[in-house]
Symmetry: C2
Subunit: 226 residues, 2 copies
Protein backbone atom coordinates (compact mmCIF):
# COMPACT_ATOMS: atom_id res chain seq x y z
CA UNK A 1 0.00 0.00 0.00
CA UNK A 2 1.44 3.38 -1.00
CA UNK A 3 1.93 6.04 1.60
CA UNK A 4 -1.06 8.10 0.45
CA UNK A 5 -3.30 5.04 0.44
CA UNK A 6 -2.09 4.24 3.95
CA UNK A 7 -3.05 7.75 5.13
CA UNK A 8 -6.36 7.51 3.25
CA UNK A 9 -7.19 4.32 5.17
CA UNK A 10 -6.93 5.97 8.60
CA UNK A 11 -10.28 6.04 10.38
CA UNK A 12 -10.03 9.82 10.76
CA UNK A 13 -10.29 10.34 7.00
CA UNK A 14 -12.61 7.46 6.11
CA UNK A 15 -15.70 9.61 5.48
CA UNK A 16 -14.00 12.25 3.31
CA UNK A 17 -14.59 12.58 -0.41
CA UNK A 18 -11.46 12.41 -2.59
CA UNK A 19 -11.57 16.20 -3.03
CA UNK A 20 -11.84 16.80 0.72
CA UNK A 21 -9.04 14.31 1.36
CA UNK A 22 -6.77 16.00 -1.19
CA UNK A 23 -7.34 19.34 0.53
CA UNK A 24 -6.70 17.93 4.00
CA UNK A 25 -3.56 16.08 2.96
CA UNK A 26 -2.06 19.20 1.35
CA UNK A 27 -1.38 20.76 4.77
CA UNK A 28 -0.15 17.71 6.65
CA UNK A 29 3.47 17.02 7.45
CA UNK A 30 4.50 13.36 7.43
CA UNK A 31 7.17 12.50 10.00
CA UNK A 32 9.15 9.45 11.08
CA UNK A 33 10.40 8.82 14.62
CA UNK A 34 13.00 6.26 15.67
CA UNK A 35 12.48 4.04 18.70
CA UNK A 36 12.99 6.13 21.90
CA UNK A 37 12.74 9.44 20.01
CA UNK A 38 10.52 12.06 21.63
CA UNK A 39 7.66 13.65 19.67
CA UNK A 40 7.28 16.26 22.41
CA UNK A 41 8.19 16.80 26.04
CA UNK A 42 5.87 17.65 28.94
CA UNK A 43 5.99 21.43 29.37
CA UNK A 44 6.79 22.24 25.69
CA UNK A 45 4.50 24.88 24.20
CA UNK A 46 1.76 22.89 22.46
CA UNK A 47 1.62 23.78 18.77
CA UNK A 48 1.30 20.46 16.94
CA UNK A 49 -1.37 17.75 16.78
CA UNK A 50 -0.40 14.22 15.79
CA UNK A 51 -2.16 11.27 14.18
CA UNK A 52 -0.24 8.02 14.53
CA UNK A 53 0.11 6.20 11.21
CA UNK A 54 2.31 3.30 12.30
CA UNK A 55 4.30 2.20 15.33
CA UNK A 56 3.55 2.80 18.99
CA UNK A 57 3.84 5.89 21.19
CA UNK A 58 4.07 6.06 24.97
CA UNK A 59 2.35 9.03 26.61
CA UNK A 60 3.71 9.63 30.11
CA UNK A 61 4.45 12.12 32.87
CA UNK A 62 7.54 12.35 35.06
CA UNK A 63 7.66 13.50 38.67
CA UNK A 64 10.39 15.89 39.77
CA UNK A 65 12.18 12.95 41.46
CA UNK A 66 12.20 10.78 38.35
CA UNK A 67 9.12 8.59 38.78
CA UNK A 68 7.11 7.87 35.64
CA UNK A 69 3.34 7.60 35.20
CA UNK A 70 2.22 6.00 31.93
CA UNK A 71 -1.05 7.51 30.68
CA UNK A 72 -1.43 5.54 27.47
CA UNK A 73 0.21 3.43 24.80
CA UNK A 74 -1.05 4.88 21.53
CA UNK A 75 -1.64 2.66 18.51
CA UNK A 76 -2.17 3.62 14.84
CA UNK A 77 -5.21 5.88 14.23
CA UNK A 78 -4.74 7.59 17.63
CA UNK A 79 -4.92 11.38 17.73
CA UNK A 80 -2.81 13.07 20.40
CA UNK A 81 -1.54 16.47 21.45
CA UNK A 82 -4.93 18.02 20.69
CA UNK A 83 -5.88 18.23 24.38
CA UNK A 84 -2.93 20.57 24.98
CA UNK A 85 -3.28 22.51 21.71
CA UNK A 86 -7.00 23.14 22.21
CA UNK A 87 -6.71 24.06 25.85
CA UNK A 88 -4.07 26.59 24.81
CA UNK A 89 -1.46 25.15 27.14
CA UNK A 90 1.84 23.36 27.17
CA UNK A 91 1.87 19.59 26.62
CA UNK A 92 0.74 17.97 29.89
CA UNK A 93 2.72 14.79 29.15
CA UNK A 94 5.64 13.58 27.05
CA UNK A 95 5.24 11.43 23.95
CA UNK A 96 8.00 8.96 23.01
CA UNK A 97 8.13 6.36 20.26
CA UNK A 98 8.52 2.89 21.80
CA UNK A 99 8.87 1.43 18.30
CA UNK A 100 9.93 3.10 15.04
CA UNK A 101 6.82 5.13 14.23
CA UNK A 102 5.29 7.43 11.61
CA UNK A 103 2.88 10.25 12.40
CA UNK A 104 0.97 12.94 10.55
CA UNK A 105 1.58 16.37 12.04
CA UNK A 106 -0.85 19.33 11.90
CA UNK A 107 -0.38 22.86 13.16
CA UNK A 108 -3.15 24.37 15.28
CA UNK A 109 -4.31 26.74 12.56
CA UNK A 110 -4.39 23.90 10.00
CA UNK A 111 -6.38 21.60 12.23
CA UNK A 112 -8.91 24.33 13.07
CA UNK A 113 -9.54 24.98 9.39
CA UNK A 114 -9.82 21.24 8.70
CA UNK A 115 -12.32 20.76 11.55
CA UNK A 116 -14.48 23.70 10.48
CA UNK A 117 -14.55 22.45 6.87
CA UNK A 118 -14.94 18.75 7.75
CA UNK A 119 -17.29 18.36 10.72
CA UNK A 120 -17.12 14.56 10.31
CA UNK A 121 -13.45 14.77 11.36
CA UNK A 122 -14.44 17.00 14.31
CA UNK A 123 -16.89 14.34 15.53
CA UNK A 124 -14.10 11.72 15.35
CA UNK A 125 -11.78 13.99 17.33
CA UNK A 126 -14.58 14.36 19.92
CA UNK A 127 -14.96 10.57 20.09
CA UNK A 128 -11.20 10.16 20.54
CA UNK A 129 -11.01 12.80 23.31
CA UNK A 130 -14.07 11.25 24.96
CA UNK A 131 -12.44 7.82 25.13
CA UNK A 132 -9.23 9.32 26.53
CA UNK A 133 -11.11 11.35 29.16
CA UNK A 134 -13.11 8.27 30.08
CA UNK A 135 -9.92 6.24 30.60
CA UNK A 136 -8.23 9.06 32.47
CA UNK A 137 -11.18 9.30 34.86
CA UNK A 138 -10.92 5.59 35.54
CA UNK A 139 -7.14 5.75 36.02
CA UNK A 140 -7.47 8.57 38.58
CA UNK A 141 -10.16 6.75 40.57
CA UNK A 142 -8.19 3.47 40.44
CA UNK A 143 -5.18 5.19 41.96
CA UNK A 144 -7.30 7.12 44.48
CA UNK A 145 -9.56 4.28 45.61
CA UNK A 146 -8.01 0.87 45.07
CA UNK A 147 -5.38 -1.13 46.91
CA UNK A 148 -2.42 -2.59 44.99
CA UNK A 149 -4.27 -5.79 43.94
CA UNK A 150 -7.33 -3.89 42.78
CA UNK A 151 -5.28 -1.36 40.83
CA UNK A 152 -3.32 -4.03 39.00
CA UNK A 153 -6.43 -6.09 38.18
CA UNK A 154 -8.29 -3.01 36.96
CA UNK A 155 -5.35 -1.94 34.79
CA UNK A 156 -4.99 -5.43 33.25
CA UNK A 157 -8.70 -5.48 32.37
CA UNK A 158 -8.43 -1.97 30.87
CA UNK A 159 -5.35 -2.94 28.84
CA UNK A 160 -7.15 -6.07 27.70
CA UNK A 161 -10.16 -4.10 26.47
CA UNK A 162 -7.82 -1.82 24.50
CA UNK A 163 -5.10 -4.13 23.26
CA UNK A 164 -6.62 -7.57 23.83
CA UNK A 165 -6.44 -10.23 21.11
CA UNK A 166 -8.17 -13.59 21.53
CA UNK A 167 -5.92 -16.67 21.63
CA UNK A 168 -6.29 -20.34 22.52
CA UNK A 169 -5.07 -19.67 26.07
CA UNK A 170 -7.10 -16.50 26.74
CA UNK A 171 -6.93 -12.81 25.86
CA UNK A 172 -3.38 -11.69 25.00
CA UNK A 173 -2.54 -8.07 25.92
CA UNK A 174 -0.69 -7.28 22.71
CA UNK A 175 1.91 -4.93 24.25
CA UNK A 176 5.51 -5.69 25.11
CA UNK A 177 5.31 -4.56 28.77
CA UNK A 178 8.03 -4.83 31.38
CA UNK A 179 7.08 -5.11 35.04
CA UNK A 180 8.39 -1.55 35.39
CA UNK A 181 5.97 -0.39 32.64
CA UNK A 182 3.05 -1.94 34.51
CA UNK A 183 4.29 -0.37 37.76
CA UNK A 184 4.32 2.99 35.94
CA UNK A 185 0.71 2.53 34.79
CA UNK A 186 -0.67 1.70 38.24
CA UNK A 187 1.72 3.88 40.27
CA UNK A 188 3.15 1.05 42.38
CA UNK A 189 6.72 -0.18 42.91
CA UNK A 190 8.15 -2.71 40.48
CA UNK A 191 8.64 -5.20 43.31
CA UNK A 192 4.98 -5.00 44.32
CA UNK A 193 3.90 -5.54 40.71
CA UNK A 194 6.24 -8.53 40.28
CA UNK A 195 4.87 -10.17 43.45
CA UNK A 196 1.26 -9.53 42.41
CA UNK A 197 1.84 -10.92 38.90
CA UNK A 198 3.36 -14.09 40.43
CA UNK A 199 0.33 -14.34 42.68
CA UNK A 200 -2.03 -13.95 39.70
CA UNK A 201 -0.06 -16.59 37.80
CA UNK A 202 -0.12 -19.03 40.74
CA UNK A 203 -3.89 -18.52 40.94
CA UNK A 204 -4.12 -19.35 37.20
CA UNK A 205 -5.64 -15.98 36.34
CA UNK A 206 -2.84 -15.07 33.93
CA UNK A 207 0.09 -16.58 32.08
CA UNK A 208 3.05 -14.67 30.68
CA UNK A 209 4.52 -15.77 27.35
CA UNK A 210 7.06 -13.94 25.17
CA UNK A 211 6.75 -10.78 27.28
CA UNK A 212 2.99 -10.73 26.76
CA UNK A 213 0.38 -11.15 29.49
CA UNK A 214 -2.49 -13.51 28.74
CA UNK A 215 -5.67 -13.16 30.80
CA UNK A 216 -7.06 -16.65 31.39
CA UNK A 217 -10.13 -15.74 33.42
CA UNK A 218 -11.37 -12.15 33.21
CA UNK A 219 -14.42 -12.80 35.42
CA UNK A 220 -12.22 -13.98 38.31
CA UNK A 221 -9.80 -11.13 37.66
CA UNK A 222 -12.73 -8.68 37.94
CA UNK A 223 -13.32 -10.05 41.46
CA UNK A 224 -9.84 -8.76 42.32
CA UNK A 225 -10.79 -5.20 41.35
CA UNK A 226 -12.58 -4.47 44.62
Amino acid sequence: MGDLACIRSLDLFSDLTDAQFAQVISCIENRSYSKEEFLFHEGDRASRIFVLKSGRIKLFKNSWDGKELILAFLTPDSIFGEDAVFSGETYSASAMAVEDSCALVFTRSNIERILLENPGIAVKVIENLSRRLYKSTNQVSDIAFRDARGRLASALLRLSSEYGKPSREGTVIDLNLTHQDIANIVSLSRTTVTNLLLDLRDNELITIKNHRIILKDQARLADWVR
Copy 2:
Protein backbone atom coordinates in the same frame (compact mmCIF):
# COMPACT_ATOMS: atom_id res chain seq x y z
CA MET B 1 -32.97 38.54 30.42
CA GLY B 2 -35.52 36.08 28.97
CA ASP B 3 -34.77 32.39 28.96
CA LEU B 4 -34.08 32.24 25.23
CA ALA B 5 -31.74 35.23 25.46
CA CYS B 6 -29.97 33.51 28.34
CA ILE B 7 -29.44 30.36 26.23
CA ARG B 8 -28.38 32.49 23.25
CA SER B 9 -25.68 34.10 25.40
CA LEU B 10 -23.96 30.78 26.20
CA ASP B 11 -20.48 30.60 24.72
CA LEU B 12 -21.40 27.37 22.90
CA PHE B 13 -23.90 29.18 20.69
CA SER B 14 -22.16 32.55 20.35
CA ASP B 15 -21.02 32.06 16.74
CA LEU B 16 -24.36 30.82 15.38
CA THR B 17 -26.56 32.86 13.06
CA ASP B 18 -30.14 33.39 14.29
CA ALA B 19 -31.39 30.74 11.85
CA GLN B 20 -28.82 28.19 13.04
CA PHE B 21 -29.63 29.00 16.65
CA ALA B 22 -33.37 28.56 16.04
CA GLN B 23 -32.71 25.14 14.55
CA VAL B 24 -30.42 24.06 17.40
CA ILE B 25 -32.80 25.28 20.10
CA SER B 26 -35.72 23.37 18.58
CA CYS B 27 -34.30 20.02 19.72
CA ILE B 28 -33.06 20.98 23.17
CA GLU B 29 -34.82 20.10 26.39
CA ASN B 30 -34.54 22.67 29.18
CA ARG B 31 -34.41 21.12 32.67
CA SER B 32 -34.22 22.37 36.25
CA TYR B 33 -32.53 20.49 39.08
CA SER B 34 -32.92 21.19 42.79
CA LYS B 35 -29.92 21.30 45.10
CA GLU B 36 -28.65 17.72 45.72
CA GLU B 37 -30.65 16.29 42.80
CA PHE B 38 -28.74 13.89 40.54
CA LEU B 39 -28.52 14.56 36.79
CA PHE B 40 -27.10 11.08 36.28
CA HIS B 41 -25.40 8.33 38.27
CA GLU B 42 -22.10 6.62 37.56
CA GLY B 43 -22.88 3.42 35.66
CA ASP B 44 -26.13 4.68 34.05
CA ARG B 45 -26.28 4.11 30.31
CA ALA B 46 -25.05 7.38 28.78
CA SER B 47 -27.70 8.84 26.49
CA ARG B 48 -27.81 12.56 27.32
CA ILE B 49 -25.37 15.46 26.99
CA PHE B 50 -25.77 18.52 29.21
CA VAL B 51 -24.86 22.19 28.96
CA LEU B 52 -25.07 24.00 32.29
CA LYS B 53 -27.08 27.22 32.06
CA SER B 54 -27.07 28.26 35.71
CA GLY B 55 -26.09 26.84 39.08
CA ARG B 56 -23.26 24.47 39.91
CA ILE B 57 -22.79 20.74 39.35
CA LYS B 58 -20.44 18.37 41.15
CA LEU B 59 -18.94 15.57 39.03
CA PHE B 60 -17.67 12.74 41.22
CA LYS B 61 -16.97 9.04 41.57
CA ASN B 62 -17.67 6.78 44.55
CA SER B 63 -15.63 3.79 45.63
CA TRP B 64 -17.40 0.56 46.64
CA ASP B 65 -16.68 1.41 50.30
CA GLY B 66 -18.24 4.87 50.12
CA LYS B 67 -15.26 7.14 49.49
CA GLU B 68 -15.81 10.04 47.11
CA LEU B 69 -13.44 11.50 44.50
CA ILE B 70 -14.46 14.91 43.13
CA LEU B 71 -13.46 15.32 39.48
CA ALA B 72 -14.84 18.80 38.89
CA PHE B 73 -17.21 21.53 39.97
CA LEU B 74 -18.94 22.62 36.78
CA THR B 75 -20.00 26.23 36.26
CA PRO B 76 -22.36 27.73 33.64
CA ASP B 77 -21.31 27.15 30.02
CA SER B 78 -19.77 23.76 30.92
CA ILE B 79 -20.60 20.80 28.68
CA PHE B 80 -20.70 17.39 30.36
CA GLY B 81 -21.76 13.80 29.76
CA GLU B 82 -20.35 13.94 26.24
CA ASP B 83 -17.27 11.91 27.17
CA ALA B 84 -19.50 8.97 28.10
CA VAL B 85 -22.00 9.45 25.26
CA PHE B 86 -19.27 9.65 22.59
CA SER B 87 -17.23 6.78 23.95
CA GLY B 88 -20.42 4.70 23.81
CA GLU B 89 -20.26 3.78 27.47
CA THR B 90 -22.03 4.28 30.74
CA TYR B 91 -21.42 7.51 32.67
CA SER B 92 -18.01 7.19 34.32
CA ALA B 93 -19.02 9.55 37.15
CA SER B 94 -22.12 10.92 38.86
CA ALA B 95 -23.38 14.49 38.39
CA MET B 96 -25.25 16.19 41.24
CA ALA B 97 -26.51 19.76 41.55
CA VAL B 98 -24.79 21.47 44.51
CA GLU B 99 -27.02 24.52 43.97
CA ASP B 100 -30.39 24.81 42.24
CA SER B 101 -29.35 24.53 38.58
CA CYS B 102 -30.69 24.67 35.02
CA ALA B 103 -29.25 22.67 32.16
CA LEU B 104 -29.91 22.14 28.47
CA VAL B 105 -30.23 18.47 27.60
CA PHE B 106 -29.45 16.90 24.20
CA THR B 107 -29.86 13.30 23.07
CA ARG B 108 -26.91 11.67 21.31
CA SER B 109 -28.62 11.69 17.90
CA ASN B 110 -29.54 15.38 18.30
CA ILE B 111 -26.04 16.41 19.29
CA GLU B 112 -24.46 14.47 16.41
CA ARG B 113 -26.69 16.25 13.91
CA ILE B 114 -25.97 19.62 15.54
CA LEU B 115 -22.20 19.02 15.44
CA LEU B 116 -22.23 17.92 11.80
CA GLU B 117 -24.30 20.97 10.81
CA ASN B 118 -22.44 23.45 13.07
CA PRO B 119 -18.71 22.67 13.08
CA GLY B 120 -18.10 25.80 15.19
CA ILE B 121 -19.96 24.07 18.03
CA ALA B 122 -17.89 20.93 17.43
CA VAL B 123 -14.66 22.94 17.87
CA LYS B 124 -16.01 24.32 21.17
CA VAL B 125 -16.87 20.81 22.36
CA ILE B 126 -13.30 19.78 21.44
CA GLU B 127 -11.90 22.72 23.43
CA ASN B 128 -14.06 21.79 26.43
CA LEU B 129 -13.03 18.11 26.32
CA SER B 130 -9.40 19.17 25.91
CA ARG B 131 -9.49 21.29 29.04
CA ARG B 132 -11.14 18.48 31.01
CA LEU B 133 -8.62 15.90 29.78
CA TYR B 134 -5.79 18.29 30.63
CA LYS B 135 -7.09 18.72 34.19
CA SER B 136 -7.75 15.01 34.58
CA THR B 137 -4.15 14.24 33.54
CA ASN B 138 -2.89 16.65 36.17
CA GLN B 139 -5.20 15.24 38.84
CA VAL B 140 -4.00 11.67 38.19
CA SER B 141 -0.32 12.65 38.33
CA ASP B 142 -0.88 14.75 41.48
CA ILE B 143 -2.38 11.74 43.23
CA ALA B 144 0.27 9.36 41.85
CA PHE B 145 3.34 11.51 42.48
CA ARG B 146 2.83 14.06 45.22
CA ASP B 147 2.79 13.86 48.99
CA ALA B 148 -0.14 15.31 50.94
CA ARG B 149 1.28 18.88 51.04
CA GLY B 150 2.07 18.89 47.33
CA ARG B 151 -1.32 17.50 46.39
CA LEU B 152 -3.19 20.11 48.39
CA ALA B 153 -1.07 22.99 47.09
CA SER B 154 -1.43 21.80 43.49
CA ALA B 155 -5.21 21.44 43.89
CA LEU B 156 -5.56 24.93 45.41
CA LEU B 157 -3.60 26.46 42.51
CA ARG B 158 -5.72 24.53 40.00
CA LEU B 159 -8.96 25.63 41.71
CA SER B 160 -7.66 29.19 41.74
CA SER B 161 -6.95 29.16 38.01
CA GLU B 162 -10.50 27.89 37.39
CA TYR B 163 -12.58 29.68 39.97
CA GLY B 164 -10.23 32.43 41.19
CA LYS B 165 -11.49 36.01 41.58
CA PRO B 166 -9.12 38.82 42.53
CA SER B 167 -9.78 40.58 45.87
CA ARG B 168 -7.93 42.99 48.12
CA GLU B 169 -6.55 40.12 50.20
CA GLY B 170 -5.57 37.82 47.31
CA THR B 171 -7.26 35.40 44.91
CA VAL B 172 -10.56 34.09 46.27
CA ILE B 173 -11.50 30.55 45.20
CA ASP B 174 -15.15 31.27 44.51
CA LEU B 175 -16.53 27.90 45.64
CA ASN B 176 -18.21 27.04 48.91
CA LEU B 177 -15.91 24.12 49.82
CA THR B 178 -15.95 22.11 53.03
CA HIS B 179 -12.76 20.47 54.25
CA GLN B 180 -14.35 17.16 53.24
CA ASP B 181 -14.86 18.48 49.68
CA ILE B 182 -11.18 19.37 49.46
CA ALA B 183 -10.25 15.97 50.89
CA ASN B 184 -12.38 14.39 48.14
CA ILE B 185 -10.57 16.37 45.44
CA VAL B 186 -7.06 15.40 46.58
CA SER B 187 -7.93 11.92 47.87
CA LEU B 188 -6.71 12.53 51.44
CA SER B 189 -8.48 12.22 54.81
CA ARG B 190 -10.43 15.21 56.10
CA THR B 191 -8.18 15.38 59.19
CA THR B 192 -5.05 15.61 57.03
CA VAL B 193 -6.61 18.39 54.95
CA THR B 194 -7.70 20.34 58.03
CA ASN B 195 -4.19 20.14 59.50
CA LEU B 196 -2.57 21.20 56.22
CA LEU B 197 -4.98 24.14 55.78
CA LEU B 198 -4.15 25.32 59.32
CA ASP B 199 -0.46 25.01 58.46
CA LEU B 200 -0.97 27.06 55.26
CA ARG B 201 -2.90 29.69 57.23
CA ASP B 202 -0.23 29.87 59.95
CA ASN B 203 2.37 30.38 57.20
CA GLU B 204 0.23 33.23 55.79
CA LEU B 205 -0.20 31.51 52.43
CA ILE B 206 -4.00 31.43 52.69
CA THR B 207 -6.87 32.90 54.68
CA ILE B 208 -10.35 31.45 54.96
CA LYS B 209 -13.34 33.82 55.02
CA ASN B 210 -17.04 32.99 54.70
CA HIS B 211 -16.24 29.40 53.66
CA ARG B 212 -14.02 30.66 50.87
CA ILE B 213 -10.26 30.09 50.59
CA ILE B 214 -8.17 33.13 49.66
CA LEU B 215 -4.68 32.50 48.23
CA LYS B 216 -2.42 35.26 49.55
CA ASP B 217 0.84 34.19 47.90
CA GLN B 218 0.60 31.85 44.91
CA ALA B 219 4.35 31.90 44.25
CA ARG B 220 5.12 30.58 47.74
CA LEU B 221 2.25 28.09 47.45
CA ALA B 222 3.79 26.80 44.20
CA ASP B 223 6.95 26.01 46.22
CA TRP B 224 4.81 23.59 48.22
CA VAL B 225 3.85 21.65 45.11
CA ARG B 226 7.12 19.69 44.98
